[in-house]
Structure formats: C-alpha cells, structure tokens
C-alpha cells in the first residue's frame, strides 16, 4: 500500500496540469508520471481524476489536443497549452502566490 499522502488541494490539479504542459506537450500518462515525480510522493493525485480534468481544460480551450506518435511508437493523445491556457496559468500562478503568501503571513504572525 502506498504511504499516507496528502490529497491534492481542491482546484490545484488544473493549475498543476497547466504548469506541466507549459514545459512541453505531453499525453495523459506522461502527465500522470510527471505529477508523481514532481510531487515527490507527497501529494496524492488520483489518476482517475486526471482525465476529466484534461477534458474540462480542453473544453475551456486552455488546452488543445492532437494525436501524435509517442516515444513508444504508438499513437497517443498529446495535450499542449493554448495561448489562453498560458494566460490562465499566469493568472493561477499569481493568485496561488498571493494565497500562499497570505497563509504564510498568518502563520508568521501566530509565531511571534
């Protein structure tokens, strides 16, 4: 059994997907693996929730998808960021920074 991990905070999965795809286009499995590597097994991502999220982002036109040959030679659906997806990532990043900063401030005050 995997070790106890934090469930991913609500609403951050979309942001993480956007972030991963901002580096390079990837298919669903690739994104799942990247998520696992990056989060260093601290955050638990339910792989089942990945696909609804991908389709939701595609629906919102933040992602575009295309079938391409993958590293194993099979066809896979590769997702990449659209320009509006890029803008959305910037928005989410800054609002996350603000939120994190605010939480940090609250904790800092409590420690004094």
């Amino acid at each position: 059994m995997p070790p106890a991990r934090f469930p991913i905070p609500q609403g951050t999965l979309d942001m993480l997907i956007l972030q991963i795809l901002s580096l390079e286009p990837a298919h669903g499995y690739g994104i799942a693996r990247r998520l696992e590597q990056i989060s260093q097994a601290v955050v638990q991502v339910n792989q089942g929730s990945l696909y609804p999220a991908l389709h939701r982002l595609e629906q919102k036109k933040w992602l575009q998808a295309e079938w391409k040959q993958s590293e194993t030679g099979r066809e896979a659906k590769f997702y990449s960021l659209t320009s509006s997806g890029r803008r959305q990532l910037a928005v989410e990043r800054s609002s996350w920074a603000r939120l994190a900063g605010a939480v940090q401030l609250i904790f800092a005050e409590g420690n004094e």
Partner: protein, 898 residues
C-alpha cells in the same frame, strides 16, 4: 457550445477509449518492469485509475453536464415511446402545430404592424412631435400634421435634438418611360435620411442641399423594392430621368433594401425633397406657409434627453414662437377665443420607434383581439395535450410505478414527462412554423391590396422564429407540467396494487382540464358569434343605396399636367362618352370617394332664424346626376341642375343639399329649405349658400357611421379630378370595357386611380370585420373540435373504468336509461361548470372587443345563448357515445372484466 458535443459524441467516445487504453497499457508495462505479474499489474493500474467505467462517466459529464445528458436521454426515450403510439403522437403534435402556427401567424402581423421598430439607426431615440391646441391653420393629410417651416424651426433646437425631419405621404403619377402610373411617394425634408440614419443601395440619398430653393432640385430617390421589381435592378438607374406628374426629375439613388419609409401602411416607391412639393402635389404653393399643416414631424432626441424633458424644455421657445407668429404678416384674422387657444398650444413628444402609422391606429385593436384569440386557442391546444398525456399516463401507470419502485426519483419521472412535452411541442412548433407563412399569406390576402398588403410580408425572420420557439417551449412545459405534477405525487403502493376497476387520481385533473377546455372554447365561440353578427348586421344594413351594378373609378388629371379648366372639359368629355355608351345607364361624379373611411369635413355656420355653428359635417361636391345614379331619393326640395353648376361670380357654390340627419339635428323639424349655410365656424363666416333640397340618409365614410352631410354642386372649371359612379346595364365586365375605351379616347395617358364595383368596395370597407369574423369563427371551430376530442377521451376513460360498477348496477336491475344518465351527469357537470366560467370571462373580456362590434353588445344574450346551445349540444353528443356504450355493457362480461 457543449450541446454540440452531443452530436459528435461517437467521435469523443472513441477518442476517450483510445486514450484510456493507451494509459492502461503504458502503466501495465511500467509496473511489469518493476516486477509485477501481468495480472497484478493490470489490477494495480485499474485501481489507480479508480475504475475505467467511472472515469468514462466523469469525462462524459464534462462533455455534457449531467443534467443535460440525462435530459438528452429522456428525449430519446420520449421519441422512442412516441413512435410506439403514433395516433397519440399525431393528435398531440397536430393540436400543438395548430395552436403554435396560428399564434405565430398572428404574432407576425402584430409584430409588423404594431411592434416592429423601424430599420433605422437607434429607432428608440425617435419621437413624434405633435401640436396640441389650435394651429390656426388649414391642412390636408392624415394625423399629427404641422407646417414645413415649423420643422425647420425645430431643427435649430439642437439642445434637445440630434436632428428633425418632416414628411408627407402623397400619390404621384410616375412615368419611368412608359405610361404614367399612380405611385405612392413620400415628400421629405433634406434631413430625412440623415436623421433616420438610412443608407443607400446605389447613388446617393436626398440631403439638405436638395431641399433648398423651391423647385430648384428636381431629384428623386427610389425605394429598393421599386428598383428591383419595376426597373429589374437596372445598374444604370442613377441619373435616369423620370416624370413625376409630368415634371422631369432625376433619379439620384436607391435607398437601403430593408427601408420602406416610416409608415408601415404606406410604402413609398420614391422620395421627393420638400422643395419639390409644388411639383409633387399639383397646385400646391404653401410649402413655406407657416399656416398650412400637411407634414408629420419627427425628431431624434439627443442621447441623454428624455421626451418629457425635451417637451418641457422646448416650451419657452415654442411660446415665443407662437407670440411672434401672431404678429407675422399673413396671420389669419381669428376670434379672440381661438387666438387664446392658439397661444395656449403646446408641443407633445411621444416616442415613435415604429414611425408614424394610421394603419397601426386602425389595425392595432383588431390585431390584439386576434392575438388574444390565438392565445386562447394555444392554451386550449396545451390543455388538450396535457389531457392526452394524462390519459396515456394512466395507461403507463404501472410502468411508472415499476420505475419508481426500482429506485427512479420522482423528479426523474417528472422530468421524463417534461421531456415528452417539450419534444412534442418542438415538433408541433416546427410544423407550426412551416405552415405559418401559408396562414400569413391567407391573412394578408384579406387586406385589400392598396391598403396595406404590399407593406405586409409573410416571411419568417429570426424574431418570429424566436417567438415560435419560446411559445413552443412554453407550451411544452405547460402541457408536460400538469401530468408531471400528477405522477410526481401519486402514492406508489396503491397504483402498483391497482387494477382496472379502481378509481384513478388522474380523473379529477382530467375533468378539470376538460372543464377549462369547454370554458376556453365557449369564449371563442361567443366571440365568433358576436363578430359574425356584426358582419351580417353591417352587410344587411348596407350603405343606404343599391350597390348592385354600380361601378366606380377615379381620375386625377391635374397630376397629368391639366389645368382646372382643362380637367373640367376632360371630365365632361368622359361623362358624355359614358352616357353615350350602350352598356351604362347613368353616371354621376363626386369630388370625394365614398366608403373608404376618408371624407372632406368641416364645421358649418347656419343662418336660419338665428345663427348657429354645427359640429363637423361630412361634405362633398357632386354632379347633378349623382343622387339619381346611386338611387338616392330626394326627401324635400329639388336636386342640383345644370344652372347650379355654372361658376358665375367666382368659385363658390350658391346652393347646397343636406341630408335628413343634418336637417333633423340642426333644423329640428323645421323645413331646412331656404336656410342659409356656409363652411367654417368663425365670426367671419358668411352663410350665403341656400339649402335647396334634402336627400335621404346614406353612408358616406363607412358602413358604421351615421353622419350629418351636406353637398355642394360641382362647379364648371373648378375641379382637379373626380370619382365617377356609373350604373351599368348588363354585365359589369362589358361596362368596364366600354368605360376604359371612353377614357382611352379622351386621354390615352390618363391613369385610373381605381376601377371596381361598389359591392367590392363595400366588402373592402368591411375588411376588419371580415377578418375578425372569419378568424375567430375558424378558431372557435378548431377549439370546439379540440375540446370535443378532450371530452370524448375523458368520458370513454371514465366509462371504461366504471364498466364493472355499471355492470353490477345493470345486473341489479338498473335500466339502460339510468346507466346513460349516470355517465351523462358527469359530462353535464363539466359542461355547466365550463359554461359558467366562460360566461363570466366573456363578460369581463367584452370591453376588449366592444369597439370592434356594431349593432350588438359584448354581452348580447342571443349570441351567448346560441353559442352556449351549440357547445352544449356538441359536447353532449361527444359524451353520449361512451354513455351509450356503457349502457350496452353485458353485465356478465363486465363482472368477468379484470
């Protein structure tokens, strides 16, 4: 649009499958590399994903929201079940199609005539500017008239207006190369097009440069419709010369396609600048006269100004202008009282996003009545479908109960019914929209061609589609709602346990629906009876003279370049020619045409024993033969003769004939012969015209009116044209032929304004009455059919349910008669309740139709009784069939039933 996803969901599904399979395969091979067996790897991978089916479902929810997905599913289920019961489906769809089609058709007319804003820039900023009070002016035209100079004055009030325009409708003889034809035109100020914000399809439009010195700019702009239909969209139209009343003018452009003037009832073929009004209206010299009212004035308000603000803000300037006007040279000498009224005048601004339209005045009320009637019809159709649903629902009761027992939520079942309703209504709506243009064409065909038919069209535009869609959706929800409510509530266990013999809860609701249907129907049937009585009453009353073998036509030679003397000589030639023809019996001339709603009217001053001023009198000038041609008898005195028509001592008549109503009202029993009268009501009026005769009453403006009338003789050399009334011998066709020949011999280029039989004109003048009688009658018939179906359905259902009970009663010795009575009693209660509701509603709705009626009151007992009787007989007939069937039940069969 997510909804679009539904249409290519096959693609989406395949893509998702491939994607998930790829994920699984990669995960499995990765896990196997780390040492798991294939079986374990597969299980682990599936576990991580949380179940493939689950993922699929979740992704589908992304494509189409859950609710929508379920609803689409419901719709498919509905469609399948409708295919299984075609007779139900056809009945329901046709009911709804009738209701929606009729409503859409009538709404299209309401929209075109009443609601549709002009196709101009920001129509909501347009206001009609009207003069309230005494203008101390003479005028001609329809309503809301003012002079041209005041329009130019208003134009300078730029604190309130972004521009002011004026316009007048007229008819010109237009020749575009061939014979001249009477053509509708609009005389407009130079600001007209720019203030409205209308663009051109070719060339340029009239601007302020064209509206300068009188007579200096002979230019016209053609309407797009005229250009395409009459000139075959000739590309070289700009620069062409046309003849307007024989004056050469140059076409400078064509207006935008959708623009048809600002009056929905009078679509102009061309626009002429006001500076050319002397040419457009022969003999008119008063364009710049401040005391001649003949144009409507509209303004475009500045963006932040309301009509009320502008109205108040304009007042100081207007007051000063009135003061100044009284000191101007040429201001008429009027009484102190009129002067006071003149100075107390105000301007009134009303929002005019739809322009100015006398047609709207005339048609608005009948159209709303019709719209209300179609609303009732649509409501009825919805009730019918709701009733059908309930009937079908009780047949499906066990199915539904089973679904409930298997765990379907009540809201889910209710939504199924809504889906049923909406699917049906949309299908019905589609059918209705497809058939609406046909209905519209039929409707428009009722309207005489010259009045408004060319202004109304039967095309379906996006507004209409939106309306039809809204109506369909609403009726779908309405007709699905009632049964949804019913089945969302019923007790589960009881209906599962139920067998054919028990009483179902739906019956009460169905009876209520049928009662409402009967009420709606009766309202429509009463309405139809009232309108039919109005129409037949008016037709029976007639115009007061014999219309058979009477034809008439009009000519307007002054518009073909004739002088008044020449016109008089021409009319005499035509008169002689007609009299010489063998196919005519007699012929007379009148200045103003009869039975078209128009008249020449003025108050008069009478000098009998004392001086008195009358109310508005309908006036006309007629030739000596006029009354005898129409067969109108003289009651006292003599008719006009040749002596009276000689214009000795100026253009004023010396004798007059009044009608009986005039004599009765103003000379109260005394002999009017010898009394002196004259036109006008001021102290400067000089009664110097002697009444020489009294003529029997007949209808002048329209069949409804009973007016005081006075007639002058037509004087030689003073008329500009006239209307010939000809009594024909033999067929009217032969007479038409010979009259046409007479006119062609007199002047081959002279257009005839109209040429028709008097019977036709009587029918034309009853357009509104005929439309109302025919349509409301038609709606009533439809409604009756619908509610008969409804009643029959409920009664058969109830009877089937009570078969067992009836069988027992028969077995115990009840007579057939009592069995019939038992069923009929039910129907009678519904009919009585429906009738009571309808009679109350009809009394309340009476006010809406009162002004459209003639000779009957909205609560006319005869019409109400007849309608109620008809409905009762028909509905009882429908109830009798199941009742009779019940009475023939074999007790043994009935007991064995179930």
């Amino acid at each position: 649009m997510r909804l679009l996803n539904w249409f290519h969901r096959g693609n989406l599904e395949r893509g998702l499958d491939r994607e998930l399979v790829y994920h699984m395969d990669r995960r499995v091979s990765d896990l196997m590399l780390s040492g798991l067996t294939e079986q374990d790897a597969r299980r682990q991978a599936r576990l991580e994903l949380g179940g493939l089916a689950q993922v699929r479902e979740e992704v589908r929810d992304v494509w189409l929201t859950r609710w929508m997905r379920d609803f689409v599913h419901d719709l498919r289920f509905s469609a399948r079940s409708f295919f299984h019961s075609p007779s139900f489906t056809v009945t329901a769809v046709v009911s709804l199609a009738l209701g929606i089609g009729a409503t859409t058709a009538i709404y299209s007319l309401v929209d075109q005539v009443i609601l549709h804003a002009l196709p101009v820039r920001q129509p909501d900023r347009l206001v009609l500017i009207d003069w309230k009070g005494d203008q101390a002016a003479n005028g001609f035209g329809s309503w809301n008239l003012m002079s041209y100079p005041i329009c130019r004055d208003l134009e300078r009030q730029d604190r309130f207006f972004d521009g002011v325009l004026c316009r007048a409708a007229t008819t010109v003889n237009l020749s575009i190369g061939g014979e001249p034809k009477a053509t509708a035109a609009e005389i407009v100020s130079g600001s007209y097009f720019s203030v409205l914000g209308v663009t051109q399809a070719a060339g340029r439009l009239i601007d302020s440069g064209d509206d300068g010195t009188s007579g200096a700019n002979p230019v016209v702009v053609l309407s797009y419709d005229f250009w395409t239909t009459q000139l075959a969209s000739a590309p070289d139209v700009v620069g062409r010369k046309v003849l307007v009343n024989q004056h050469p003018m140059t076409v400078i452009g064509v207006a935008a396609p959708e623009f048809r003037g600002i009056d929905v009832g009078e679509v102009p073929a061309l626009w002429i600048p006001a500076s050319m009004s002397g040419q457009a209206i022969p003999g008119f010299k008063n364009q710049l006269d401040r005391r001649t009212r003949w144009m409507q004035v509209l303004g475009r308000l500045k963006p932040d100004v309301t009509p009320a603000q502008a109205q108040v803000g304009l007042q100081p300037w207007f007051k000063a202008m009135l003061d100044e006007d009284t000191r101007r040279a040429g201001f008429p000498r009027i009484t102190a009282e009129r002067r006071k009224r003149f100075l107390a005048s105000t301007l009134e601004l009303t929002a005019a996003p739809q322009g100015h339209s006398p047609l709207r005045r005339r048609m608005a009320q009948p159209l709303w009545v019709l719209f209300a009637a179609t609303g009732v019809l649509l409501g009825l159709a919805c009730l019918n479908v709701a009733g059908l649903f309930l009937a079908r629902g009780s047949a499906r009761e066990r199915e539904i109960s089973t679904r409930l027992a298997l765990g379907a939520s009540r809201s889910r079942i209710g939504r199924q019914f809504l889906a049923d309703g909406i699917l049906l209504a949309l299908t019905g709506g589609l059918l209705g929209v497809v058939s609406a243009p046909l209905a519209m064409r039929t409707l428009i065909a009722f309207v005489p061609r010259d009045a408004a038919a060319n202004a109304l069209h039967s095309t379906i535009d996006s507004r209409l589609l939106l309306f039809a869609f809204a109506v369909s959706a609403a009726s779908g929800i309405l007709s699905g709602f009632v049964p949804a409510l019913q089945f969302g509530r019923g007790a589960l266990i009881s209906s599962l346990r139920e067998r054919g013999g028990a009483r179902s809860g739906g019956v009460v609701l169905r009876k209520a629906i049928v009662t409402a249907q009967i009420a709606f129907t009766l309202i429509l049937v009463i309405g139809a009876a009232l309108f039919v009585r109005t129409l037949t009453g008016l037709l029976a009353k007639g115009p007061g003279f014999a219309t058979s073998s009477l034809v008439y036509f009009g000519i307007d030679p002054i518009r073909s370049g004739y002088s008044r003397e020449e016109a008089s000589r021409l009319m005499r030639r035509i008169q002689d020619g007609i009299r010489a023809s063998r196919s005519t019996e007699a012929s007379g001339v009148a200045r103003v045409v009869l039975l078209t709603g128009g008249s020449w009217n003025n108050p008069m001053t009478i000098q009998a024993r004392e001086r008195m001023v009358t109310g508005d009198i309908n006036l006309n000038a007629v030739s000596p033969e006029f009354f005898s041609t129409l067969g109108i008898g003289m009651v006292a005195g003599r008719g006009f003769d040749e002596r009276d028509t000689r214009a000795e001592g100026g253009p004023n008549p010396r004798v007059a004939i009044v009608n009986e109503a005039f004599a009765r009202r103003y000379l109260g029993g005394r002999s009017p012969l010898g009394a002196l009268i004259c036109e006008g009501s001021g102290p400067d009026a000089k009664p110097n015209v002697e009444i020489i005769g009294v003529v029997a009453d007949f209808r002048y403006r329209g069949l409804r009116e009973q007016s005081e009338q006075a007639y002058f003789p037509i004087l030689e050399g003073t008329e500009t044209g006239g209307n010939f009334y000809v009594k024909v011998r033999g067929t009217t066709d032969a007479a038409f032929q010979s009259i046409r020949t007479v006119i062609r011999n007199a002047d081959p280029a002279l257009p005839m304004l109209y040429f028709r039989t008097m019977d036709e004109q009587v029918n034309r003048s009853l357009v509104t009455e005929r439309i109302l009688a025919a349509l409301v009658g038609g709606f009533g018939t439809l409604a009756l059919l619908l509610s008969l179906v409804g009643l029959y359905g409920v009664m058969s259902f109830v009877t089937t349910q009570r078969t067992r009970e009836i069988g027992i009663r028969l077995a115990l010795g009840a007579t057939r008669g009592s069995a019939i009575w038992m069923v009929l009693r039910d129907a009678l209660i519904m009919i009585a309740a429906g009738t009571a509701i309808a009679l109350c509603c009809a009394a309340a709705l009476g006010r809406l139709v009162e002004s459209q009626l003639f000779g009957v009151k909205p609560t006319d007992p005869l019409a109400m009784a007849a309608a109620t009787l008809l409905l009762t007989i028909a509905t009882l007939g429908a109830a009798l069939i199941p009742a009779y069937r019940a009475s023939t039940v074999n007790p043994v069969d009935a007991l064995r039933f179930d």
